[in-house]
């Protein structure tokens, strides 16, 4: 299993998002809002999950990055807090799980 330093994870996710959402790579930053700023819709989230599985050799088995409703601040919508960094963190944790079980 290859090691994935955090900056490598981010770089790969940046190119996945840029390809899947047809946005310039430069505008994808850790703080970018995936839905509200980068324009993802439901089908894109599936596409992004699929690309993540292939790129990082992960089996997400249909469990996608999701936001627990209790983590959403009052008066906010999930799309207003869902950032690229959340995807990076999700992938990081999945990679660690995979490493632990290997």
């Amino acid at each position: 299993m290859p090691e994935w330093p955090e900056n490598k994870i981010f770089e790969n996710i940046k190119s996945i998002l840029s390809d899947a959402l047809e946005v310039e790579p430069e505008i994808v930053t850790p703080g970018s809002l995936v839905i509200d700023e980068l324009g993802a819709e439901s089908i894109d989230i599936l596409d992004i999950s699929f690309r993540i599985e292939k790129t990082f050799n992960l089996d997400l088995s249909n469990q996608s990055f999701s936001i627990d409703s209790k983590d959403i601040p009052k008066g906010k919508k999930a799309s207003e807090i869902f950032t690229v960094q959340m995807i990076v963190d999700f992938v990081k944790s999945k990679l660690e799980e995979a490493k632990a079980s290997a």
């Binding site: 899947a20 047809e22 324009g39 089908i43 894109d44 599936l46 596409d47 699929f50």
Partner: protein, 435 residues
């Protein structure tokens, strides 16, 4: 009192390229769109030519503004979205002069035609990938194969296959919030779509309907399927002349592909906004042979009944028809039966009507053939010029009508009839009238 319906815009993506001008320039001068297939390896295929749309003729990224949407579109959907943009631009219809809730979409679509090469290869490759081979316990168990293949295929794939996706993309991109229908009756699909769109406007349900059809069967599966049914010409050596409707040496059709889109509009709506009017759509009728899947009844009772009914719907007598754009596939059976059916309806006058099959040039667009042939008819009416049946060299005694051989013919045209018949036995006819 029924509302009157006019055609106010047309758009086409064809094997001549994108746009009406290049389309008419080629059709009216009798040039074939036949090519040797380059989209995939046809080395071992018994048929190696088609009227194919090549990548240098059509690059969706050049035309579709919402780039992200392209990945969810099959080739047929890409064609239809671009042809729609062209038709709306031609009609000068936009958000400013439309009530989006009375703006609908009714399209003729293919079945497997929506599945293009890439999707199929991905599925097949996935099924044979090492991951699947290793895990596969039972080769006969299709459920197991699908479960394993699922992990290898991008989840957006099913959205490319669904037959209603062309209409859905068009509705989203154009904000057409009226009714949306997709009609799949093989080669009759788009003529029925146009007819049903006309009815929606007649009944007052919509002001404007984006209609027509799209199909892309020039892929390994489509080519294999039509070839297995024995309906394709195998004249690889002389492929430029392979499609030869009504000629005695015809041996099957040439596949074509593309999208042909028309905007049908309620007459007063169009007049009020000072839109252009190509012509009026005054008749539509449909019937079913209820006979056999791929054979037509020898006396053409189903297709002749559709022609009789469309004359009734248009309130015309046979002598009023100035030109028939035939279904004319270039198969032995269709051209013979269509000739018999025309004679049955038109009697002696059948010999006086110019009849042509533009499939001789652009091939058979399957679900989209009726739409591209209606657009051809609209242009024939506009230019008062009948496009020819090319490659007509050796008359068949059983096809003895005037097929406008090889050269376009100027003629005063007021009423025009277009025929479409499909596997399964569906027949549809449309009549348009000079405005």
């Amino acid at each position: 009192m029924k509302n009157r319906v006019v055609i106010s815009g047309i758009g086409v993506v064809s094997p001549y390229g994108v746009g009406i001008d290049t389309f008419w320039q080629n059709i009216s001068t009798g040039r074939t769109a036949a090519k040797l297939i380059t989209g995939f390896d046809v080395t071992d295929y018994p048929v190696r030519f088609a009227a194919e749309i090549t990548p240098d003729q059509f690059n969706p990224r050049e035309y579709i503004e919402n780039k992200k949407s392209i990945k969810t579109m099959s080739k047929a959907t890409q064609f239809s979205v671009v042809a729609t943009q062209a038709a709306l631009q031609d009609a000068r219809l936009d958000k400013e002069n439309l009530n989006k809730e009375r703006f609908g979409v009714t399209l003729g679509v293919g079945g497997v035609g929506a599945v293009d090469t890439q999707i199929f290869s991905e599925m097949i490759l996935a099924a044979y990938s090492p991951e699947i081979q290793e895990n596969m316990v039972d080769r006969e168990n299709i459920g197991q194969i699908a479960r394993l293949a699922m992990k290898q295929i991008n989840p957006i794939m099913p959205l490319q296959i669904l037959p209603n996706m062309s209409a859905a993309h068009i509705a989203i991109l154009q904000q057409a919030q009226g009714s949306s229908y997709s009609i799949a009756t093989a080669c009759t699909s788009s003529s029925q779509a146009i007819g049903e769109a006309m009815r929606q406007i007649q009944r007052g349900e919509n002001d404007v309907v984006i209609t027509g059809g799209t199909d892309s069967m020039i892929n390994p599966i489509g080519l294999m399927g039509f070839n297995m049914l024995g309906v394709l010409s195998r004249n690889n050596e002389n492929y430029l002349k392979a499609s030869r409707p009504f000629d005695s040496l015809r041996d099957g059709f040439m596949l074509g592909e593309g999208a042909a889109i028309l905007t049908l509009e309620e007459l007063q709506h169009c007049l009020k906004r000072k839109g252009q009017i190509y012509c009026e759509v005054i008749g539509y009728a449909s019937s079913s042979d209820a006979f056999r899947l791929t054979d037509e009844p020898p006396d053409g009772y189903g297709s002749s009944r559709a022609m009789s009914l469309v004359l009734e719907d248009a309130n015309l007598s046979p002598e009023h028809v100035d030109y028939i754009n035939a279904h004319g596939t270039s198969t032995v059976m269709n051209d013979k039966t269509e000739t018999i059916a025309i004679k049955k309806v038109f009697g002696d006058y059948a010999y006086k009507i110019p009849i042509s099959s533009t499939k001789s040039m652009i091939g058979h667009w399957a679900a989209a053939c009726g739409a591209v042939e209606l657009i051809t008819s609209v242009l024939a009416l506009k230019h008062q010029l009948i496009p020819p049946t090319i490659n007509y060299e050796k008359p068949d005694p059983e096809c003895d009508l005037d097929y406008v051989p090889n050269r376009a013919r100027p003629k005063k045209i007021t009423h025009l009839l277009s025929n479409s018949f499909g596997f399964g036995g569906q027949n549809a006819c449309l009549v348009i009238k000079k405005f």
